[in-house]
Symmetry: C6
Subunit: 201 residues, 6 copies
């Protein structure tokens, strides 16, 4: 425990093991791309939804939309449809002093929610970005090139992108592109299948 | 699933099949017309109404008016008049970063609500615009020409408009006008009959 | 249903039949007088009051005052004094994008509320204006001349005005004045008696 | 009911008979003194307090203070100490478009509340002004001269003022002073005794 | 009751007898020191806390902190630990038009609360000032000299100050200092013991 | 109790004994470092969380995140998972007039909460700083040098810092560094173990 000891932790790098309730998103800021973590925590409660991490209104609405998608899809996902009556849900995006906004974390939030509610871990090498609609449609977003570069720097291997962003892949340098696997999805269900460990894994 | 695969999805074009709880509206912005989707999702709950998609105050009030119209008309529409006690309703308008306002999505919202509550699918080729009142009156709106052009571009075939906008049809280029069927309505009930699949279809 | 068909509807003109829960008010704007409709809708609920139509704070308080007047007077009006426990009330003023404010729709709101709660229709040829107090006093308002002209244009026949506005009648052109019947009232009860169909009609 | 009929009503003048739940206050504006009516209405409910009439924050707090004074003093005033569980209280100050603020209507509000809760009428010739504290202390206020002149104009006969405003009486013209009876009080209970009809009257 | 009668009341001077639920604080404004009264009123209710008197955010938080201190300390103070379930608490600071802010009334608010909850009267000759923490620590505040002068003018005899303000006593003119008794406290419990009458008094 | 007596108290210095529900944090302002106390108080209630001390939005969200971490970790910490149903929690940061913001008090708040909920005292010589995430990850913060100097001045002996701030230790003057013990942590659980007295101590 001396301060000269070996480092065990560096926030922002890919996790060292698959975790429950934490998904990795790709963000795009004026100074380039970044990764961010979406954390979901459940506790005994009465259905309150808490959103923290200096989130803007659009991102808060995106989280509400992701939650309604999960609630409406509860049965087919193996989630108790009344979980909201007995649990509070807290969604937090760390680095609490950094403002965050926009709809592009939608599928990341949905994935973290389903992981927390089903206890299925999220594969640690997967990053993702894409707006989600109430029906689970995945809509295109901006900053594909910068987001992909930051995902690569953070050590991620598989990148989930909206199908309607397909054309933007050509902007990514080929050397980077070859070290990553791209998954183009039009439905959040596809993203869940890619990111979540199977029930028997 | 290679990123070179064939595209299956493009948001903003007419759906490929009739859907439940999703209606197509016609919007009018400073840069021309556009189509938008109104999504409605129900989940087990206690009557909370959620409105997302960066909606302005007038559009939020329009959604509340559409919902009250549907609640007051529940019995004749075959909807459990107490549905609000056991369900939460979420109305979302995708492309969450784009601000939207105005009363002209009123009948579209009412149609999406009735579809979600009755499980009757909405005909995928129908687009609509018009303010709704508490009694279901359909009031005239602006931008008929631009809205109709965008509906045509999106592949829609039937356009529901307020009866009091009848005179504005002459502004639409004849070549476009001939490829579309116009339905002029003064009551939301007429719009519901046109847009929703029959119960025995 | 061709768009060349005969018009059946024009919003803002006198109704073609007596209706329940819709009263006609007289408004006064910087560009002259106008008529407006106050719509009231009841649905199964728990006493929530909803006010929509881009109403300013003074008009919202006026609606709350009208509702408290009706609640306090429930018994003598034949209304279940506990209606607020089992119903939600929505008051909407159409043309949702047009801002509206001021206390002068008070008696119109009270009349629409009593009509909705008693199911007594409102005479379609009656328009009215006047501030209401908690006790049902009718206070004078401005814009009598412009409001009366717009009422005449809309096809109304009977105009209910505050007694304390009596002196303003001389400002109305005689040709218009002769085609209208004026009812000067100091109590909202008088307005209700004039505007509502009798129980045995 | 012709508009040429005899006037029966003029708002702002002393009432023609003693009323329940309506007290007359004295206001002071940049253009001089005025009288105002405090109306209190009770209806079956769950303890909600509504304050309307374009009241500023200080006046709203003054009303809350007056209500807490009455609630704490309920037993000695002959009021059911649990009235707030079964009733909603609405306090309205007419002329809803005119902004009103300040603490000086405190004792007037307390008097109107006690009248509504005990059904004891308020003497129609009494006007009053003074800040109230939680304990019922009556604190001095400004504008005594202007307020008194407006009370005289409105036909009031008895004026209740804070004891600590005693020295301001000399500013009132003697001719006016002689036509009025002044009651200087340091406790709200004294004001209640003066303004309310006795139980056996 | 003639307006020429002898004055019985002047707000701001020391009370003429010990009272329950009213404590005297010392305030410091840009124009010098002043005394203020903290009034606490309890009524049958459900645990609502009301704060009035044009209080700023810091003073409101100070009141909440004082209340939490009292709630956590309820048992040792002889207060029913569930009083908040059956009572509403109203804290008011008279002279409702004068803005007040800052944390220095903390111990005064705690003293008034304990007096109201235990029915122990507060000694009328005691004034006090000091920030309170959740644990009842008393923190130093500013304006000791001005506050003490105003306490002296109001006729107070005993002044409770934070121990950490000890060094500021030397700034008070000796003639004043000799007519007052200073009590330096580091814990709110010490202030309560000094200001409240004993249970057997 | 003379004002010439010996000082017993000076706020901001290390406590004289281990306490329950009070943790010492390190703050960083434009004028240098400072220590602050996080106080937590529990009282019988219904799960309300109160946050006072002029806290900015980021600091409030940080407190909510710390609380959710504790709630999700309740069982392993020996805390009744339903404590929020029977208790209100008040978190206060003294010196109520001084604005405070930022996420760096996260682990301090978590430590104070766990102490209050488990009744385990906090070692009086420990100070700490670090952002907390929902999962209890400890993220790096700024101002390490200034914060450490102020901790030293306040008499603290053990400083808990985020592991990812390891490199900033070299900025601290060696003479100070040698008088302090540094604990670098990546998980809040490690901070709890260092700061809280053991159950059998
Ligand atoms: Ca980052
Ligand atoms: Ca491209
Ligand atoms: Ca679009
Ligand atoms: Ca035209
Ligand atoms: Ca109009
Ligand atoms: Ca005239
Ligand atoms: Ca007036
Ligand atoms: Ca004078
Ligand atoms: Ca004063
Ligand atoms: Ca000094
Ligand atoms: Ca400090
Ligand atoms: Ca460094």
């Amino acid at each position: 425990e001396s301060y000269l000891g070996k480092r065990k932790f560096r926030y922002g790098m890919a996790e060292t093991e698959n975790q429950i309730g934490v998904a990795t998103g790709l963000a795009y800021t004026t100074v380039g791309g970044d990764t961010l973590q979406i954390e979901v925590s459940l506790s005994a409660g009465k259905g309150k939804l808490q959103l923290t991490g200096k989130l803007g209104d659009v991102m808060k609405e995106s989280a509400q939309t992701a939650l309604s998608f999960v609630r409406a899809r509860a049965e087919s996902l193996g989630i108790d449809p009344n979980f909201h009556e007995s649990h509070d849900i807290h969604i937090h995006v760390p680095e609490g002093a950094v403002p965050k906004d926009g709809p592009s974390a939608g599928i990341t939030i949905a994935t973290a929610l389903v992981s927390a509610l089903t206890k299925r871990p999220i594969r640690r090498e997967v990053g993702m970005t894409g707006e989600i609609t109430l029906r689970g449609r995945v809509l295109p977003i901006g900053g594909i090139k910068e987001k992909t570069l930051s995902a690569h720097r953070a050590g991620l291997k598989t990148i989930i992108l909206p199908l309607d962003n397909e054309r933007d892949l050509e902007d990514i340098p080929e050397t980077i592109r070859e070290e990553l696997t791209f998954k183009l999805v039009s439905q959040a269900d596809e993203a869940l299948e890619i990111a979540l460990e199977g029930e028997n894994e």
